[in-house]
Every structure is written in C-alpha cells, then in structure tokens.
C-alpha cells in the first residue's frame, strides 16, 4: 500500500492538497482533500475531507485550532470525491471569509 500526495494550484492564493492511498497501482482511499488559502501571507488549511477514523468526513478548521466535523455518506470513491470537490466549489469563499472573520475577532 502506498500514498501519493501533491498540491493542485488553483490560483496564486488558493490550492488543494490531495493525498490518495494506492494499492497495486489503483486508488483505494481518499487520504486527503484539503482546501488551503493564503491568508495574511501564510497558507492556512480551511476545510479538509478525509477517511481517517474509518469514515469519510469533512472538518472545517478554525484559526484557534478547533474544528467542526461532519460525516459524509458515499457509495464509492468517485461519489465521495465529487461531493468534496462540489462543496469546495460552492463554499470556498464562505470558508475563507469565515476564517478571516474569526482571525479578526
């Protein structure tokens, strides 16, 4: 079993960290899909999807280190991946603004 990790650069200030778990060349698990934004000159993870703890879930990450966890139901890897990427597509600005708002509090 192996892991492959890399960064998908979406803009100069937005990127996705991706990690797939592979076996015999095939992808068997989504290790990580994490949206990161450059905020105040530093890359910050804002939302993370992974299969740690035995289930696929989303963590919304806050500047104080706390996080909000939500399980995501899926029937196969493609559905799980699609759900994660579509949520990021819809919500990325909200995640960033919410994070920035919490920094200012």
């Amino acid at each position: 079993m192996g892991r492959k990790d890399w960064t998908e650069n979406l803009t100069h200030r937005d990127r996705l960290r991706v990690e797939f778990t592979t076996r015999k060349g095939g992808v068997i698990e989504i290790g990580l899909i994490q949206y990161e934004a450059e905020i105040e000159g530093q890359w910050k993870p804002l939302v993370r999807y992974d299969m740690a703890h035995g289930f696929f879930h989303r963590d919304i990450l806050r500047p104080d280190g706390t996080q909000e966890k939500l399980e995501i139901r899926y029937t196969d890897l493609a559905e799980g991946l699609t759900t994660a990427l579509e949520e990021i597509h819809r919500q990325w600005e909200f995640y960033r603004q919410a994070y920035e708002g919490r920094i200012r509090k």
Partner: protein
C-alpha cells in the same frame, strides 16, 4: 482581460475534478505526479486560463520552495477513451460488480487490479450514443 480570482479558481477546480475522477478509473493518470509536487493545469481550449496558469507556474518557480512543478495538459474525451483502451488491453476480467443504482461498475482483473467505470459514453460505428456500462454488459 485578466481572470478574476473566482473565475480562475472555478475553471481550475473543474479541470482538477475531471482529472482526479479519471485517476480513480485509470491510476496511470497519477504517474506524472511526483510526490509533493505542485500541479498546474494546462487547459486545451481556454487560452485565458492557460496564460494565467503559466504565470502562476513562473511565480512558483521564482518563489522556489524546492518542490517540483508538474504541468498536466487537459485530456479530451477521445484521448481519455484511448487511454482506457490501452490500460485494459491484455487484461483478463474476472469479475464485474455493478453498484446498487447501476450507474457504476467495478471491473476486477486477474492481476487483482480494478477499474471503476462511471458514465463513460461514446458514439459507436453506427453513430449511436452508447454508455460504457451498456457495452460491458452486452
């Protein structure tokens, strides 16, 4: 015209999504990506995004965090089909497992590799639209 951050984000995310879903069907898609790399999309029919992405690659190269930069061209449906054909040539299928809704198939090969198929459609020699799942089952 310069792309806005929002447009660049959404267009790149669409290309990334397409490629990651392809990687689940055909793991060879991941081969050019070295561990830890910065990946940048090279779109086929979007010169505006292509220019923006090349500028982003140059900026990454200048910033020099030491990680390799890998630029991946967008793959058309025809190339995608060709890629899949090359992958399965010579492989013996030992099992075909449909999901509950019949929208997805797992092909299990004798060498214990497997491929997941979803809504892969093409036009046959008579010009009829067919889905990959129909073709496998007939």
């Amino acid at each position: 015209m310069t792309l806005t951050r929002e447009e660049m984000f959404k267009r790149n995310l669409a290309l990334t999504k397409k490629r990651l879903l392809r990687a689940l069907e055909n793991p060879r898609v991941l081969q050019p990506i070295v561990p830890g790399a910065h990946v940048i999309n090279l779109p086929q029919n979007d010169p505006e995004l292509l220019r923006a992405n090349l500028a982003m690659a140059m900026e990454l190269a200048k910033r020099g965090d030491g990680r390799p930069i890998v630029m991946i061209p967008e793959v058309t449906e025809r190339e995608r089909w060709q890629e899949f054909r090359e992958f399965i040539v010579g492989k013996r299928i030992v099992d075909v497992i449909p999901n509950e809704g019949g929208t997805c198939l797992d092909l299990i090969f004798e060498d214990e590799t497997h491929v997941q198929l979803r809504a892969l459609a093409w036009t046959n020699e008579e010009g009829e639209e067919q889905s990959f799942i129909d073709w496998i089952l007939t």
